[in-house]
């Protein structure tokens, strides 16, 4: 029973990160119909931003060797700021890699390549500035919280609980925004049909920017949290999450917000269930799931079937 609870909590906290991550993909996909391959790099940036905002120093290998901000913020303040920084970068990516293609009404396939180019630039910029070494956000950053708490006999790290909590709050806020506000409705209208939405006076371009900003914010927060819970393994550490996020995205259904959450939790739980002696195969779980779902139910678990237009 204890083990089961432990497994459940581990799975849920991993799944929460995947969900946050996949939501960013989903927001962009729902308004543009393309996948933003630079999303993993934005996630990585969020982790580095958090690290520096809480007063971490750069290692010896980058151009910024030894750099340290003159102030050290508490983690609860640094995390949202890192999220905002990541959102700004996501907006910049939208301007450089997506907007010019949209203005030329070019093949959407090209956005895969340009966003990838943006991702390559970002990842290598990080490497150039702060080096390829790994950085750990000290868990001491969570001042006042014990390292672990016991819930019903299961030992849970506070970081994991924090992850779950933050993810739950963000997901609730996002759902409320999409369902209950005027701008949320605008976003849904654009995802339904951008041209009609524009004709009805909804500023499509503004909605697209909002989607990118939010997606960057979510990725930045997820990055900071993972940096705290695991560590930043180097400039490339977002790529693995980026691929997993794709799996989650398709599992839940492209463009579906509840689908992204459900997909994230399912994959997180499934990975937690992989026994330790087969842990090398953990990464296969997500892709195996994804593959089977694509074949059985291509629209994903909660996706809609779009009628094919002639």
């Amino acid at each position: 029973m204890q083990d089961l609870l432990q497994l459940l909590l581990n799975g849920l906290s991993t799944g929460a990160v995947y969900a946050l991550f996949a939501l960013g993909y989903t927001l962009v996909f729902s308004v543009l119909g393309v996948i933003n391959f630079a999303h993993g790099a934005v996630f990585t940036l969020g982790a580095y931003f958090t690290y520096f905002l809480i007063g971490g120093a750069a290692g010896a290998n980058g151009l910024l060797a030894g750099l340290q901000l003159p102030f050290a913020l508490p983690f609860w303040l640094a995390l949202p700021l890192a999220g905002l920084g990541a959102a700004a970068v996501a907006l910049l990516i939208e301007r450089t890699a997506f907007a010019p293609l949209r203005q030329r009404s070019a093949d959407p396939l090209l956005a895969l390549i340009t966003s990838l180019g943006a991702g390559v630039v970002l990842v290598n910029l990080i490497q150039l500035l702060v080096g390829a070494e790994s950085y750990a956000i000290p868990t001491g950053a969570l001042a006042g919280l014990p390292a672990a708490v016991r819930i019903g006999g299961a030992q849970v790290r506070s970081v994991q609980l924090l992850l779950l909590l933050v993810a739950a709050v963000l997901l609730t806020l996002l759902t409320l925004w999409i369902d209950g506000t005027r701008s949320g409705k605008g976003l849904r209208a654009v995802s339904e049909d951008p041209t009609t939405a524009r004709l009805l006076g909804i500023p499509s371009d503004r909605m697209i920017q909002i989607a990118f900003g939010l997606s960057g914010f979510l990725a930045g927060i997820a990055g900071g949290l993972v940096g705290l819970s695991v560590s930043i393994a180097g400039p490339y550490f977002g790529i693995g999450y980026g691929l997993k996020g794709l799996g989650v995205l398709v599992l839940g259904g492209l463009g579906s917000v509840p689908g992204a959450v459900l997909g994230g939790l399912i994959i997180g739980l499934a990975e937690a269930c992989v026994p330790a002696d087969l842990s090398g195969y953990r990464d296969v779980v997500a892709y195996g799931f994804l593959f089977v779902v694509l074949l059985v139910r291509p629209q994903g678990l909660l996706g809609r079937v779009l009628p094919s237009k002639v």
């Binding site: 450089t96 890699a97 895969l112 390549i113 990838l116 180019g117 943006a118 799996g247 995205l249 694509l294």
Partner: protein, 307 residues
Amino acid sequence: MDSLLIDASLLQQMLIGALLGLSVYLPLRCGQLSLATPGFYAIGGTLAALLSTRVAALGGAEPVYPLSSVLLEMLLAAGLAGGLAVGIGRVVLRLRGVYLAIATIALVEILRVTTLNQESLGGAVGIFGIPQPFLDPEGYALFTLIALALVSWLCDRLERQRLGRAMEAIREDELAAACQGIDTDRTKLVAFVLSAVVAAITGVISAHFLNSWNARLGNFDASITTLAFVVFGGSRTWAGPVLGGLTLTALPELLRPIGDLRLIVFGLVILVGPLLLPQGLITPERLQRLVRLVRRIPPLAPRSEGP
């Protein structure tokens, strides 16, 4: 030979890039965005690495690994990858657009993680000491050049034939193509299988050239880089991916003098390239104009009369 910008081993890598570009191009000609190329490339490479290091009979008596064994490996790799592609293609080609892309990414990742965890397939360490059929990079480059010329020639033939035209029709409008009596499922499958075969034989050459093989050689990065070859070079005729593969493989090496900045510049090139040239460097129209231009140049006959 220091004055040369491109040495034989860089040329060899560029030719490999061009072959992989062609492999991504074939399904894309039918409008199918398949990113499975690195998976089949890895199948070819792993097969060649296993056969040439574990099967003593292939080695022959001489110190140099016999070329006939390489050709045999290529044949086996083509058969294995082609067979797998028939099975996988039947299933995944039901998916469209970005779904197909993601399914093939998943496939490549499953293959990679499995290879990484199977000691018999090289595991995390990889397979070392793959015997060399050529003693210098020049030999490899010549061999790969012949392979590239052959594959390019076949692609050129294909584009002029019924099958190639059917592929183009599917890309323009699948429904309309089906209404014209084109067997769209079969045509897409043929393109997918051809793509797998090209990738697998490229893997065989690569394994010998690199001398060692590991699971990291067929990963997600490779999927996207090879796609960039095609989008950058142009996806409407075979010359596009060849040029894209050659230039984009050479670029990071040629940029080596600028050191750490080179991958940033590489990223900028694939970010800006599609914005400036949405159709890629080479389109059939540009190619035709070029051919006409070359024909108009008078042959180099000696001029007999003076002014």
